[in-house]
């Protein structure tokens, strides 16, 4: 039986191997290569997407669990050409080095800010996505900047 869910706002159905991790569906079948493979065991966060608005490591999430869910990937974060505040902050702080981990970092940060608009240092430190290039100090700065941007957006 096909699994039906929304992917970046569009209805999709999948009737392949239900044990396939979402990551490989996105990369091999949905043409959404922005979600990245780093470890395959939930340890690095390079594959982070949103499922029902929560940051989820797509390498560790089987297709069978997605029925009725809302999946959003890095490609679906911006509103057309208008970047999500987290993306904008990442640009403003010029965070990326190799950039490979950054889609996952941004998705994790966006999910954190959506439920914790003013995160404490401790909450920010709870982000466990790896960056082999060591962009952490800029990630920290960009997160604070994004939080400020989001608060501005919400302010009446």
């Amino acid at each position: 039986m096909a699994v039906r869910f929304t992917l970046n706002g569009r209805d999709v159905a999948f009737d392949g191997d239900a044990s396939m991790p979402l990551l490989w569906y996105l990369r091999d079948y949905a043409g959404l290569a922005g979600t990245r493979f780093g470890c395959g065991v939930g340890a690095c966060g390079a594959c982070t997407v949103h499922i029902d608005e929560r940051a989820t490591r797509s390498c560790s999430r089987a297709m069978s669990t997605l029925d009725g869910r809302e999946v959003r990937t890095i490609e679906g974060l911006a509103q057309g050409e208008t970047l999500h505040p987290v993306q904008q902050a990442w640009l403003d702080e010029d965070v990326p080095q190799c950039g490979y981990c950054q889609a996952g970092q941004i998705m994790a940060a966006a999910a954190l800010l959506s439920r914790t608009p003013s995160p404490s240092d401790e909450e920010i430190n709870g982000l466990t996505n790896l960056c082999r290039c060591g962009t952490y100090p800029k990630i920290r700065k960009a997160l604070h900047r994004a939080a400020a941007l989001l608060r501005e957006e919400k302010a009446p």
Partner: protein, 743 residues
């Protein structure tokens, strides 16, 4: 050179500089009619379309070190247009036919990424590329206006006459393309730079944050098959038998093919290990198919070896004399007549590169051409390997250079390209080879292990009169055809590093210790352990002689002078520049002020590949874990190209060094790697990462590359700070839980 090695690479690229692209301008479009509306290629790196948009080619392998931004900046500075008018375009690896052997030459000059050479290599030829294009445009305007080129000014994407006439680069491009520039054009002086030294954001940043940037792993085509390989887990082992019946029953699996390895002791020319490739319609099917394989291996000659045994062999070697690598004066005599001799031993582990994007390669083989898309650092090697394996002429091999998800030296080896080609040859379809993280940690060209014995002789006045640095390590040339001529100590001893040259009786010694792995270059290779040993030991000497660690270092660096440095980064080492970064780091951390209670400060400095760096850290240790309160990095790289990129490299390099020092090591037991994935190769995460305060020395000297120099002094600055805070001296890396158990 048939194979990449750091020194050979430098030699190759500097000969390439001579005749390569100087005078290489391309005349593609006539200056008449409709064709004039087409974009005009002015030089190999500059294309201008009549509407005025300016496209600058980026020739390097972008592995996160920022060359897709910094190398075009060299062109653009001399082209003399605002950065905002320029679009950067990645160039492929490209060869042109040449009359001399090997019958080809690189069209764009040096394209590899290794040894921090991109910026020094591009310093002349890429600036010339921009300057020649500007010269051609100015000359075109001069002819159009019958005026002297020397009175014409540029600066905003146009040529201007003092009388107010103005022609945009776009209007002039077609004429300019028909004018041959001289071989060498006058370059700007540093005081005329408008772009170099400023902060320019990462070229692909918008694509990266929107998920549109493309890496090697993203390459694909209609009908591509995905392959994963089960490789022999033992060094120099092989395939004994394969039962692939269950694999072939996995839905989506298309084929199972064997990849041969190399006989024990044989050079590693292509792929590292023998293996069995599972080829499938998608990645998940390939992974499931691999899980279902049953392979028996021959275990090779190293099947019972371990890192523990290796350490014992190294310790025994350090008791011996080893071979002399450098000798100044007479260390033994100095020791016999000195007041006291201080000794200590340091051990550094093997490391994996673990780039965030694992190795992998896309390949499409046709009867006449091959197409490779992969994240690589050594495209020249890729070209040679594919030619060797396919028999195709190198001019028929197309190599695209997507972004790489990190490199750190892993991609100087192109073993994964060879694997993909061998699979594609058997399945006769386009193939994308995927490495999992488990594959990556188990089949790397690792940073070698080493044990360092240091001895210092101090006279009654506290002066250091003798110094000996004895390294027991895996010899560099093992199974590496490109290193056959190199001395065994290459890559593990740094005999010209300070305090060599400043201590009258100085000795460098080496003892080879055999181990089955194929060693690799790991970001700032020998400097990562040389600096740790030397800079830790200087602290130990300071403690033993009650000297201030900064003052002792300044003594050992000696008077400001240029002294010969034969390894990569030479030919000279300037002691004054090293002393300066050290003093700056000390000043910035307020070295002479009292340290807050419970904290300790540590400092260290090092010369890496032409650049000078110092770190100063302030740490505390609570319940066995280290907390970094301040982390300062001072660097002198000469002229800064992209200040933002330089700061990123220094900050990221520092964090790489600290991460490595804290917990990273690769170990073997029963001949097999024990680390499987990130949970047992625990890179630093956000929580532990300090904000690195980067300070850059202003300079107009020719620039050094900065991708590696941020690492070496970070490690000993950390362990020296730990000693200052706790009294515990870390002599074996990683730190791990030594602060818990040893107190």
């Amino acid at each position: 050179m048939t194979s990449m090695d750091r020194r050979g690479f430098i030699r190759t690229s500097s000969t390439a500089l001579g005749g390569l692209w100087v005078g290489h301008y391309v005349r593609q479009y006539p200056a008449d009619g409709a064709a004039a509306l087409a974009p005009v290629q002015l030089t190999a790196f500059v294309r201008i379309d009549p509407a005025g948009s300016i496209v600058v080619g980026a020739r390097g392998c972008e592995i996160g070190q920022g060359v897709r931004t910094s190398l075009p900046m060299l062109v653009v500075e001399e082209l003399d247009v605002p950065w905002s008018m320029v679009r950067v375009e990645q160039l492929p690896y490209a060869l042109d036919a040449a009359p001399q052997p090997p019958g080809v030459r690189p069209r764009y000059g040096s394209q590899g990424a290794g040894g921090s050479t991109s910026i020094p290599d591009g310093w002349d030829d890429l600036r010339q590329a921009g300057a020649k294009a500007r010269w051609m445009l100015r000359e075109a305007a001069a002819r159009r206006w019958s005026s002297q080129a020397s009175v014409l000014k540029t600066g905003d994407g146009a040529v201007r006459h003092p009388d107010g006439r103005r022609a945009s680069y776009g209007e002039l491009a077609a004429d300019a393309a028909n004018i041959a520039p001289p071989d060498v054009v006058q370059l700007k002086t540093p005081s005329e730079f408008r772009l170099l030294g400023t902060r320019v954001p990462t070229v692909d940043a918008r694509d990266i944050v929107t998920g549109r940037a493309r890496y090697g792993i993203d390459a694909t085509t209609e009908g591509v098959l995905i392959a994963v390989i089960e490789r022999c887990p033992w060094f120099e082992g092989g395939i004994s038998s394969v039962d692939d019946s269950a694999t072939r029953r996995v839905a989506g699996v298309v084929d199972v093919v064997r990849i041969s390895g190399h006989a024990p002791g044989e050079d590693i020319r292509h792929n590292l290990a023998a293996g069995v490739a599972v080829v499938a319609r998608d990645t998940w099917s390939a992974i499931l198919g691999r899980r279902a394989l049953r392979v028996e291996w021959t275990r090779g000659p190293w099947a019972s070896d371990s890192t523990r045994a290796l350490q014992q062999r190294a310790a025994a070697q350090l008791q011996g004399t080893g071979t002399v690598v450098r000798q100044d004066g007479n260390f033994a005599e100095a020791a016999a007549s000195g007041a006291r001799t201080i000794e200590a031993q340091y051990t550094v582990p093997m490391l994996a590169h673990a780039p965030m994007e694992p190795p992998g390669c896309f390949v499409e083989l046709g009867p006449q051409r091959a197409r490779i898309v992969a994240s690589v650092q050594s495209p020249g090697d890729v070209s040679r390997i594919v030619a060797e394996l396919t028999g195709l002429p190198r001019l028929s091999i197309d190599i695209e250079l997507p972004r790489s998800g990190g490199g750190f030296g892993r991609r100087l080896r192109s073993d994964y390209v060879a694997e993909a080609v061998k699979i594609a040859q058997q399945v006769r379809r386009p193939v994308k080879l995927i490495w999992t993280r488990e594959d990556d940690l188990a089949h790397d060209f690792y940073r070698p292990f080493g044990m360092h014995g240091l001895s210092a002789v101090v006279d009654t006045s506290g002066r250091v009169t003798g110094w000996r640095h004895h390294v027991a390590a895996t010899p560099r040339p093992r199974r590496d055809p490109g290193m056959r001529e190199a001395p065994a100590w290459t890559g593990t001893c740094d005999p010209d590093a300070y305090p060599a040259g400043a201590v009258a009786n100085y000795e460098s010694r080496f003892s080879p210790v055999e181990f089955g792995m194929a060693p690799g270059w790991w970001r700032a290779p020998l400097h990562t352990f040389g600096a740790f040993a030397t800079e830790s030991f200087i602290d130990e000497v300071a403690t033993a002689t009650r000297r201030d660690p900064v003052a002792l270092r300044l003594d050992l660096i000696g008077a400001a002078r240029e002294q010969p440095y034969r390894d990569h980064g030479g030919p000279v080492f300037h002691s004054g520049r090293l002393a300066h970064v050290l003093q700056e780091a000390a000043r910035l951390i307020a070295w002479n002020s009292p340290t807050p209670a419970g904290r300790g400060r540590g400092i260290a400095c090092h010369f890496t590949f032409g650049g000078y760096a110092a770190h100063a850290l302030e740490v505390s240790v609570v319940n066995g874990s280290v907390r970094i309160h301040r982390c300062i990095c001072v660097a002198d790289v000469g002229q800064v190209v992209n200040l933002a990129g330089l700061e990123a490299q220094l900050s990221g390099g520092t964090i790489d060094g600290l991460s490595t020092a804290l917990r990273l090591e690769v170990t073997w037991a029963n001949g097999r790697v024990q680390q499987r994935n990130f949970p047992d190769y625990p890179l630093m995460r956000l929580r532990e990462a300090p904000d690195v305060e980067v300070h850059v020395v202003q300079s107009t000297r020719a620039p050094a590359g900065a991708g590696e120099m941020g690492i070496p002094s970070a490690l000993p600055a950390l362990t020296n700070a730990i000693h200052a805070a706790t009294g515990k001296r870390i002599r074996t890396l990683p730190i791990g839980d030594q602060l818990r158990t040893g107190g």
